[in-house]
Symmetry: C2
Subunit: 232 residues, 2 copies
DNA sequence: ATTATCGTTTGATATTTATCAAGCATCCAA
DNA sequence: TTGGATGCTTGATAAATATCAAACGATAAT
């Protein structure tokens, strides 16, 4: 494993404050692997063998039922999945696939659980991380239950613009059909929703989003920290 | 605070394995209060002052946006809310109201955070609890995104029957309009969905549910541990 | 016992969302 | 350069879901 990877992972809140020796234990047992696009890394229902860390590339988390499939999240560097399953030694509730060539660090779940039992700083960091994940999921539920699909799209764009530093134009970082699935709508309806947003000063050409009248969009989106702010 | 309450709370997974002295610290700082129905106990957006434990009665967690409101969960003895906000010292993402006369134990969030820093057994229990909550929320998201409202209702009934020990008849424990909101539908459509379920061998008279042909209902519901089993 | 209130049900209608089919655009490999 | 393949868009239609209005029924307060 490259030293630069190790150093990068160490900066994550999850590993930042843990004991040097215990971090070493995790790193010694770790695997680094590069995967081509469209590889299924984990499958829902299977036991969680590893805590995955995305060092490079993009991973999609998705879930299925009765022939349907939905995108639950997109994980980019330096994101991890799926901590809850690793800690509880429980089956994964989601599957994961690479969307592009991706490099991942795999920490054996058993090692993570062992270090969790030993290193109380790590345990505390895990608490904070899980609380964060839980709150994110609650926000997502509110988003789904309280808003229509076009309102969800509007808020997604508002948020992405903030993440792009407030730039008038920015690029969508996922395929539209995956964005649609994430937002809980079909690709067809995303296409139509985008058209509707033109009257709110939004134009989307390919992956390029331009927001000409942010006030109009905000007036539709009505964003709220308790749903839309990942930090809140 | 009554000794019987203390003993009961001590049996919760969250408090079971913690240090006696630290548990004492929590109990010493605790308040016990009985509330009439329809009292708003916490408000979304407000800081989390207490970890609430429902000892008697029923509490509804709900969220609002732009004039809309949705039921997020129902908490009964011995359930707690909202651990993630308490631990992160973050604002509550949901509001809570009593649905009936209810007795609650309130642990000051600051105490909980302090003991969490001190008692590693408590910290580990919090990890398990948060992981559980997170997974529950993910399952709920899958339920919402992958199923239609009638499928959600069907699965809810299947689950409630299991919780009723498999009895052919059992009672709904919440008002229908709240059940509707929890399931992400209107009260009117819940009423119609119940009618539709008659052809699947389900009759609901008032709060009394009777399932005459479980096979037919199961065939519609297609329950799946990765969505419907709270233990999984 | 009576009235008032509130939850539930039903019907009519509107809106939202999905599905199906076709054409268009883009990208990549032969 | 040229086919595919795949993703995106558009139109037509169907299904799911929400809204509005009214009636009904249970419950609680007077």
């Amino acid at each position: 494993m490259k030293v630069s990877d190790t150093a990068e992972i160490r900066t994550l809140p999850l590993f930042r404050d843990m004991d040097d020796a215990q971090f070493e234990v995790l790193i010694r047992g770790a695997y680094v692997q590069t995967f081509p696009p469209q590889i299924e890394l984990i499958t829902e229902g299977e036991p969680s063998d590893f805590l995955h860390i995305v060092v490079e590339g993009t991973v999609e988390l998705f879930a299925t039922w009765n022939g349907h499939q939905t995108t639950m999240a997109t994980v980019r560097p330096l994101g991890t999945f799926i901590l809850a399953a690793t800690i509880k030694d429980a089956p994964n509730l989601m599957s994961a696939r690479t969307l592009e060539r991706s490099r991942l660090v795999l920490l054996p779940s058993e090692d993570v659980r062992n270090v969790f039992e030993t290193d109380s700083a790590f345990a505390r960091a895990i608490v904070v991380e899980l609380a964060q994940c839980y709150r994110m999921s609650i926000k997502n539920t509110k988003n789904l239950k309280l808003r229509s699909s076009i309102e969800r799209l509007a808020n997604h764009l508002v948020r992405k613009q903030i993440e792009a530093g407030g730039a008038k134009s920015f690029e969508l970082d996922v395929e539209k059909r995956r964005l649609a699935s994430y937002l809980g709508m079909t690709a067809e309806n995303l296409s139509r929703a985008i058209k509707t947003l033109q009257s709110y000063g939004v134009t989307i050409d390919g992956a390029m989003v331009t927001i000409t009248t942010p006030e109009a969009l905000l007036n539709l989106a009505k964003p709220m920290p308790l749903i839309d702010d990942p930090e809140h």
